[in-house]
C-alpha cells in the first residue's frame, strides 16, 4: 500500500509530486490511499515515494483537466485523477474523447462544477469601496466559493482591475492586489461593516429593482442561475422576496388601469425640427468633419476642403499628407505644390477651384521620425464618402476632377484604372474627369518619361478647364 498526504485545498504541486513518484513506481491506483490535511500516518508500514521522480508527459487536455479538478472539494478527486493518468499512460491517450466512459464522465462533472464555481465567483463577487485614512481608493470583497478556486480566479480579477487596489477575502484563502503584485493569503473571516458608506452600492440596489419587469416574474429561472446560497453576499438580493411578493399586484394594477389619456402636447414643431438636422451649410458640415475622430487612429486633425462655394471645378485628391495633417489645409505638401504649378500652367487659378480629399484624415505608419503615407482602404473611402458627397452638394461645381485611383473610387464606387480610363467620365450627379495624382508624378524617376507625364497631366487639366467653358489660352 501507498499513502499520500496532501495539503488542504487545491494542492496541485503536492499532487504532481506524488503522481510522479507513483508513476515511477508503477503503483496501481487500487494500492494508493489519498489523505488530505490529515496528520501523517501513525503506522510506518507505507512504502515511501521517491522524492525526485521524473516528470510525467501527458496530453495537454489531461493536464488542463487535472488543474481544474484538484480545485474540487470531492475527497476522491486525487484518486480519480490518478486512475485517469494510469489509464492514459497505459495506452488510452485519447480517452478524454470517450465522453461516455464512467470515469471520464465523473471527472467531466467535477470539472464542470469547478468551472461553474469560477464563473459564479467572477460574476457574483461584489467589491465595496473603503476609503483609506489618506483618502486613497481601495476595494474589498467577501465571497464564499464552493470549491478551492480562490487562486484560480486571481488572473481574472488582476486583469480586469489591474489599476485598482483591492482585497478579496474568502473562508478558504484571500488575495491582495496593490497594482503591482499579488499576495495569496490565508483563510479569512467575514469583515464587519462592509455595507456602510457606499452610495454606489445603494444605487446598484435601486437599479436592480428598477430593471425587473414584474409582468415576467419567474423565480425558478432566477434560482437556477443564481441559487440562494449566493444571496447572503449579494446586497441586491435582499430585495428579492419583496419584489416577488408585490409583482402580481403591480401587474394587476397595470392591466386594470384604464388606457392612459395622452397628454395634449403638440409635437409637430419638434418633429419638423427633427427633419432639419442635416448640416445646412458647408461651414456647418466642416465643423462636423473637424470634430470627428479618424477611422484609423493617428491623425492630428481632419483636413476639410478649401475654396469658394460655386467654384466651377472641384478637385478631389486622396487624403491629406504629412504636411497637410500638421497645417490643417489641403494640398500644401510637395504634391500640392506640384498641383499648384500645373494648375497655373493649365490656366486654372488655384484659389478659384475647390480643393478637397476623398478621405479627410492622414493615415500613416511611423518609421522613426518619419510618418510614411498609407493608402486608405476601400472601406475607409466608403466611410468618408458621405461627407464628400455633402461637400460637393454645397459647392455645386460644374466639373469634378479626381486625382488618382482613390478619388475615382470615391466618386464611382468602383476601382478605376486611372492611366487607362483617364479623361471625362460621368460620376452620377456630376460631370467628372479622371486624371493622375501629382504624387504619382513625384514618384517617377526624373527623365523624359516623367516630363512627358507632367505634360499629360497639364493637358488633362487644360481639357478640364475647357469642359467648364473657360476660354482657351489666349
Amino acid at each position: 500500500m501507498y499513502r499520500v498526504d496532501l495539503k488542504d485545498g487545491a494542492d496541485l504541486d503536492g499532487f504532481r509530486r506524488a503522481l510522479r513518484g507513483l508513476v515511477a513506481l508503477g503503483a496501481d491506483p487500487g494500492e494508493v490511499v489519498w489523505s488530505v490535511g490529515a496528520a501523517p500516518s501513525l503506522f510506518g508500514d507505507d512504502a515511501p515515494l521517491p522524492a525526485d521522480a521524473p516528470p510525467v508527459s501527458l496530453p495537454r487536455p489531461v493536464g488542463a483537466l487535472i488543474e481544474s479538478v484538484v480545485c474540487h472539494r470531492d475527497p476522491e478527486r486525487y484518486a480519480l485523477l490518478h486512475r485517469l493518468v494510469w489509464r492514459v499512460l497505459r495506452g488510452e491517450r485519447d480517452m478524454l474523447d470517450h465522453h461516455a466512459d464512467p470515469l471520464v464522465h465523473r471527472l467531466a462533472l467535477l470539472d464542470k462544477a469547478v468551472r461553474r464555481d469560477l464563473h459564479k465567483m467572477h460574476a457574483f463577487l461584489r467589491f465595496r469601496e473603503v476609503r483609506d485614512p489618506d483618502g486613497a481608493e481601495r476595494y474589498v470583497a467577501w465571497f464564499e466559493p464552493d470549491h478551492f478556486i480562490v487562486e484560480a480566479t486571481a488572473p481574472f480579477f488582476v486583469e480586469r482591475f489591474e489599476s485598482l487596489v483591492w482585497t478579496i477575502l474568502t473562508p478558504v484563502g484571500s488575495l491582495q492586489w496593490d497594482r503591482r503584485s499579488l499576495t495569496v493569503g490565508p483563510a479569512a473571516v467575514k469583515p464587519e461593516g462592509l455595507d456602510r458608506d457606499d452610495r454606489f452600492a445603494e444605487g446598484w440596489q435601486r437599479y436592480y429593482e428598477s430593471t425587473f419587469n414584474p409582468a415576467r416574474v419567474n423565480p425558478a429561472a432566477m434560482r437556477a442561475e443564481m441559487p440562494r446560497k449566493y444571496w447572503a453576499n449579494l446586497p441586491e438580493a435582499a430585495a428579492i422576496p419583496g419584489m416577488i411578493r408585490s409583482a402580481p399586484a403591480r401587474v394587476q394594477a397595470m392591466i386594470e388601469a384604464e388606457a392612459a389619456t395622452p397628454r395634449r402636447r403638440n409635437p409637430d414643431k419638434a418633429v419638423a425640427a427633427m427633419a432639419r438636422q442635416e448640416p445646412a451649410t458647408l461651414a456647418e458640415l466642416n465643423r462636423i468633419i473637424l470634430a470627428a475622430d479618424p477611422l484609423v487612429p493617428g491623425a492630428t486633425q481632419a483636413v476639410p476642403g478649401e475654396g469658394p462655394v460655386g467654384a466651377a471645378i472641384a478637385i478631389v485628391g486622396e487624403q491629406p499628407g504629412d504636411q497637410e495633417d500638421l497645417e490643417g489645409r489641403p494640398f500644401v505638401g510637395p504634391a500640392g505644390q506640384l498641383l499648384t504649378r500645373a494648375l497655373e500652367e493649365a490656366g486654372i487659378e488655384r484659389s478659384a477651384a475647390y480643393l478637397t480629399n476623398a478621405v479627410k484624415h492622414f493615415k500613416f505608419v511611423a518609421r522613426g521620425k518619419r510618418r510614411l503615407h498609407q493608402s486608405p482602404t476601400a472601406g475607409e473611402v466608403k466611410h468618408y464618402r458621405w461627407w464628400l458627397m455633402k461637400e460637393l452638394g454645397f459647392v455645386r461645381p460644374r466639373l469634378v476632377v479626381t486625382l488618382g485611383a482613390t478619388a475615382a473610387l470615391a466618386l464611382t464606387g468602383r476601382s478605376v484604372s486611372v492611366l487607362r480610363e483617364r479623361g471625362p467620365m460621368g460620376f452620377g450627379d456630376w460631370n467628372g474627369f479622371v486624371t493622375v495624382h501629382p504624387s504619382y508624378l513625384l514618384r517617377l524617376p526624373a527623365g523624359e518619361t516623367a516630363e512627358q507625364a507632367y505634360r499629360d497631366f497639364v493637358a488633362d487639366l487644360r481639357r478640364a478647364r475647357e469642359m467648364v467653358g473657360e476660354p482657351p489660352d489666349a
Partner: protein
Amino acid sequence: MDDALLDKLEILADAAKYDASCASSGAKRRTGGPDGIGSTTGAGICHAYTPDGRCVSLLKILLTNYCLFDCAYCINRRSSNVRRARFSVDEVVRLTLGFYKRNCIEGLFLSSGIIRSPDYTMEQLMLVARTLRRDHGFAGYIHLKTIPEASPWLIEQAGLWADRLSINLELASDRSLKEFAPEKDGTAIKAVMGQVGERILEAKEEKRRFSPAGQSTQMIVGADASTDLSVLETSDTLYRRYGLRRVYYSAFSPIPEASSALPAKPPPLQRENRLYQADWLLRYYGFTVEEIAAGGEGGMLDLGIDPKLAWALKNRERFPVDVNSADREMLLRVPGLGARAVDKIVEARRHTTLRLEDVARLSSGLKRARAFLIAADHHPGGLTDRADLRQRLVAPPKQLSLF
C-alpha cells in the same frame, strides 16, 4: 452619487428594461492595463439575475426617456404620462465606472429616446462611449443603440467605440410599424442595418475595429397580429441579408400608462420562449423556416411542445435514427439532443459502440430522445409511431387539490 442622480437612475433603468438584449459576449479579449480599467473575456458574464429570470450583465439605461416619437407599444412615447429624466454624458460615465469597479456589471448598454433630433441623440450616445474609452481607458463592454434616423457618419463614429450596435426593428411587418410606430420607417431601419453590416464586414477584412461583436435587433411579440411564421421569416432574412448576430424576441408586456391602441395584457411568455427555440433551430440545427412552421398550425408554433419535437412528431417516417451510425445533421434533429450532446456522441462513438446508458451520460434529454433513437441495446419498436406519443412525452398536468 446624490439623491437626484439615484432618482434619475431609477427612472431611466425602468424606461430601458423592455429591451431584451443584455448580452456581453462576442467581443475580442481585451484589457485596460495599468492605466485603464476593465476587460472583456469573449464569453460575457451575468452578474445577477432578477426575479423575472433575466440576466443582469450590462448597466442598461436610457440617456433620456424624453422622446419625440409616439410608438404605441413604448412606455416612453411622447404621449405617455410617465416621469421623465435625462442624464448628462458625464453622469452616465460616472455610473458605469462606479458599478464596474464594484464588479456589478460587464459594461454599458445605452439607448435613448429621440430628443431634439436623431443626430443630436446619436451624437450624445457616441460621446458617452468615446469618453469612456478615450478619457478613462475603459475596456469593458459597450453596446450602443443606433438611432436609424441619424446621419450615417454618426452611426459609423459610434462603431469606432462600441462592441455592439443594435437597431430595433420592433415589429415584424412594415404595415404594423406604420400603424403603431408612425415616425419609424422600416425601410430606413433596414437600410441602416445594411450599412452597419457592410461596415462590420469591411472592418473585419481590413483589420480595423468597428463594432466587433456585430449587430443585433429586437422584435416585440404579441403586440400586433404578426404570426410566428412571419416573425421567423423576418429573422431569417435579417440573419442572411444583414449578417445579424442575434435577433431578440420580447413578449409584449403590460406597461404603466398603456396606450389605448395597445391596452395592457399579460405577456405571451410561452410564445416568446418557443420563438427563441425556433431561432436556435434556424441558426444551429440546420432547420428552415418552412420546416419549423410545419410543426405548428396556421403559421403559429405549437405552444405545448418545443418546435423540434413538434417537427419530429409530424415527420416520424425519418425516425428512429441509429445513434451509432446516423450523420451529425440527422442527430441534430432528434428531440432532446442538443448540439453539444451530438458533438460528444460523434466523438465518443469512435471509441465504443454506444448503449442507451452511454447516451444518458452525454445528454440530459434522453427521456424525449429514446422514442426516436436506436442504440446498441435499444430499439424503440412501435413507440415511435404510437398515436399517444405526444401525450407520453409531455409531462402530465399536475393534479389540482380540491378543497
